[in-house]
Amino acid sequence: MLESQTELWIVVAGSIAATYLWRFLGTLFSYRIDPQGHLFQWITCVSFAMLAGLISRMVFIPVGPLIEVDLWIRVTGIMVGLIVFFLAHRQVLVGVGAGLAVFIALVSVV
């Protein structure tokens, strides 16, 4: 247990350091890098593809307690959130609140 906790702390610390690296480089080069340049556009594309892939995996192949919720409920919750978000003139909290309410209601009833 102690051993695995130490390992987990290393992952947490490594993640913190690896995230800070971007902040550090951004500060260092704050008047030399062109955020509109090709290199940066590519990095942005990579991070967006990865994030979309992560969400999609969390919904379609969850690893934690969401496994016990039916796939259609998970998908419905996300769809309702997105639809309400756009209908409500892109208000994030309204979309998230609607998606969450529908999800909890479906989980309670089904």
């Binding site: 610390a13 993640s15 704050s30 994030l51």
Partner: protein
Amino acid sequence: MIVLSSPATVYRRAAKDALGFPSVMLLASMTGFGSLAKESGLTLGMALSSTAGIWGLPGQVALAEMHAAGVSALFVILAVSLSNARFLPMAVSFIPLMRDGIKRFGWMFALVQLLSINSWAAGLRSFPEIEVHLRARYYVLFALICMSAGLLGTAVGYYSIGVMNRAASLGLIFLNPLFFAVLLAGSHARPAIIAMLIGIPLGPILHVLSPDWGLLATGLLGGTLAFLIHLRAQK
């Protein structure tokens, strides 16, 4: 157009801006993360350290999720780092706007840790009204309030999941992909949208092929493809 030229008015404005929507949003989203962290086997200390240290929801969720999925350390760290790559262009575009308020530039390397999408957006919106040498004060107070809300949310989520009923607890975990999906759906940039459309099918497929490499490969393949499509469409 500069209307705020004394420290007191700048601090008041920063507190007013931060205590509304940004704080509520961080409280809510970090509550989801706190619950996820608990379910993924992180201690409260690790969850709070991740919030303050990573300070970017995508990377934090990647950390907790991938650890729970049994992905090896190096791949977790790489994925967390890549999901927060946006901090580089954010810092590049933001720091020159408030550099003049800082006597020693070295301080910037500490202050940049507080940067998040909220403080970035608030700064870009309010800085034109704030005298140049006072902008850093606005940023620091605004960002500290945001981070306090985030830490509070993390702790609330961490403890709530144990005491709530099944549906509400599952809802707290579900907040993570839900928040993300809605936030990302708000992106306007075309290359980002193409990248996401490719990433959605690729993520689960590549995860099945290799849990370690899946997410990175999704980013590299999907991102590169999206970048090339975007370049081609520009011509």
